[in-house]
């Protein structure tokens, strides 16, 4: 169920949508709604990063709210800005998969939601950041990332935060952006936004909704096909085929660092547990004739899947991070799809849905 939203229309002048939205974000900072605003900027030509801005002018000048690149899943760095129960409020402009990752981190008690003003924004997809850098400024021909091609959530969840959503899907021909204020939004914030004099209008919201539904339908086919292909690639090969797919893994752990929902502050794979004694290694090598080093490749990936697949938001950052170009996204997305449907869990949808591993029902999952 979608909660009632107050839908406002932000007019866009000649300077275009990006400038209009940047101006809006700068205004929120100027008016003291937030103490700082996190948003994507272009640092040097072709390279996007996130900026935690204090100076509204910097936002007006540098913000790139629509650039189709994702340097990181900002859900996790934003969580870190408010992990220590600060005073004040941080605003952040986030893509749908970033909002959803942040919801998971809030539930994992790694971010304090009271100190956040989340401004979610529609996203129709991003391109590979390295290709973008090479092709810049002529980037319009670039293919979407694999994860984005099959993404079923191009709009931020309405139920995630009492915040603001910026809609633009289906509104390309309009000189306007949709600004939706969710019902639970701090009345102080809502009052400031309403002061800006945007008109209220339901028709743009309807148009956007049907455009999103159409996009999802299209992606749904691609999504199913993608999973089928990925399974076919394994060709029923069992554990050997998985070992082969991961054979190039050097154990650098970049995938874990890039993953917004790999939540442990200290990873067990970095600790003493895997600091084997020589005799332990020899014993294992003896049994199998030899062992790959650095080893525990399957153990690492399968453990990660067990720990975080329920919260996987299918952002694909793991794959982007892998120096060996291993197709991690298809493996993780497939597994996540299975584990999430088993426990009927939709990561990032709402702070109210309990994390599946923190709860249980007495009459479920039988026979074991």
């Amino acid at each position: 169920m979608t909660p009632a939203m107050n839908n406002l229309v932000m007019p866009v002048g000649e300077e275009g949508k990006a400038k209009a939205l940047s101006g809006f974000l700068a205004r929120l900072l100027e008016l003291g709604v937030v103490d700082s605003m996190v948003l994507p900027v272009m640092t040097v030509p072709g390279i996007m990063t996130y900026l935690m801005a204090r100076d509204p002018e910097l936002i007006r000048e540098k913000a790139e709210p629509f650039a189709a690149v994702m340097p990181v899943n900002a859900g996790s760095p934003v969580a870190r800005t408010v992990s220590k129960k600060p005073r004040g409020r941080i605003g952040a402009l986030l893509k749908p998969c970033e909002v959803r990752a942040l919801v998971e981190l809030v539930k994992l008690k790694q971010a304090s939601p009271d100190n956040l003003l989340i401004i979610g924004i529609d996203c129709t997809g991003t391109v590979d950041r390295n290709e973008y850098k090479k092709a810049y400024p002529d980037t319009s021909h670039l293919d979407l990332r694999e994860a984005c091609k099959v993404c079923l959530n191009p709009s931020p969840p309405d139920t995630a935060f009492p915040g603001i959503n910026i809609g633009h899907i289906g509104l390309d021909d309009e000189d306007a952006l949709l600004v939706s204020l969710s019902t639970g939004l701090d009345p102080g914030v809502a009052a400031v936004v309403e002061e800006l004099g945007f008109e209220s209008d339901g028709s743009l919201a309807d148009r956007r909704r049907s455009a999103i539904a159409a996009l999802r339908e299209e992606r749904d086919c691609a999504h199913r096909e993608f999973f089928l292909n990925s399974r076919a690639e394994q060709n029923g090969g069992g554990i050997e085929s998985i070992a082969r797919l991961l054979a190039a893994c050097t154990g650098c752990r970049n995938c874990r660092v890039a993953c917004p929902v790999c939540y442990c502050r200290e990873c067990i794979f970095d600790g003493d547990v895997f600091d084997y004694e020589t005799r332990q290694l020899l014993r294992r090598a003896d049994r199998k004739g030899g062992i790959k080093i650095p080893g525990d490749t399957l153990l690492y990936h399968l453990t990660r899947m067990n720990h975080m697949s329920l919260s996987c938001v299918a952002c694909g950052m793991c794959q982007d991070a892998c120096p060996e170009n291993i197709n991690l996204f298809s493996l993780f997305a497939r597994v996540a799809d299975r584990t999430q449907s088993l426990l009927e869990y939709v990561p990032g949808r709402s702070q109210e849905d309990a994390l599946p591993f923190t709860t249980f029902r007495e009459d479920e999952l039988e026979p074991r």
Binding site: R231, Q234, G236, G237, G238, I239, E240, S241, I242, A243, R244, A247, I268, R284, A285, R287, K288, G289, G290, I291, K292, G295, D296, T297, L298, L299, L302, T303, M305, N306, H307, S309, L310, L331, R334, V335, R338, T339, L342, L343, P356, F357, F360, R361, E362, E364, L365, R368
Partner: protein, 143 residues
């Protein structure tokens, strides 16, 4: 690779101190006959068995992993067994989705007084693993 003829599966068993471990002990003291394929590891609760340990055993060549916990409502730590049930169900999905298969992982509720049930479970598991054959990870060094 071990041949399946005369193949004796190795089972790593994580047994809850308060129920299944005592049940296994009871099977022993009562001189109930059961196959000696089990390598028991005593844990304080089935809820403390992270899937990582189950995976580690499987990847190191164990033919089966048995997790034994208290019956519903009897967990010494209130609901560790119910939480374990979720974790193991998720582990199964992971293994099945990747084509590894989850047949080698068994989770059973066996109380301290159910020595006979423990013995029967082990027999049943050994038979089932014999028909599955040796775990392919035994001979795989690229894990």
């Amino acid at each position: 690779m071990e041949s399946s003829v005369g193949f004796e599966p190795k089972i790593v068993a994580f047994l809850c101190n308060w129920c299944t471990y005592t049940g296994a002990d009871l099977a022993g003291v009562s001189r109930i006959q059961y196959p000696s394929n089990v390598r028991p590891i005593r844990v304080m609760c089935s809820g403390s068995v992270d899937p990582m340990y189950i995976l580690k055993a499987l990847l190191d060549g164990a033919d089966g992993v048995l997790i034994g916990g208290c019956h519903g409502g009897d967990c010494h730590y209130v609901n560790g067994n119910y939480k374990a049930r979720r974790r193991i169900a998720v582990l199964r999905e992971v293994l099945d989705e990747l084509g590894i298969g989850s047949e080698r992982v068994w989770f059973r509720f066996i109380s301290a007084s159910e020595g006979a049930l423990f013995a029967d479970t082990v027999k049943e598991m050994v038979d089932s693993l014999k028909s599955l054959g040796p775990n392919p990870t035994k001979a795989m060094w690229i894990t």
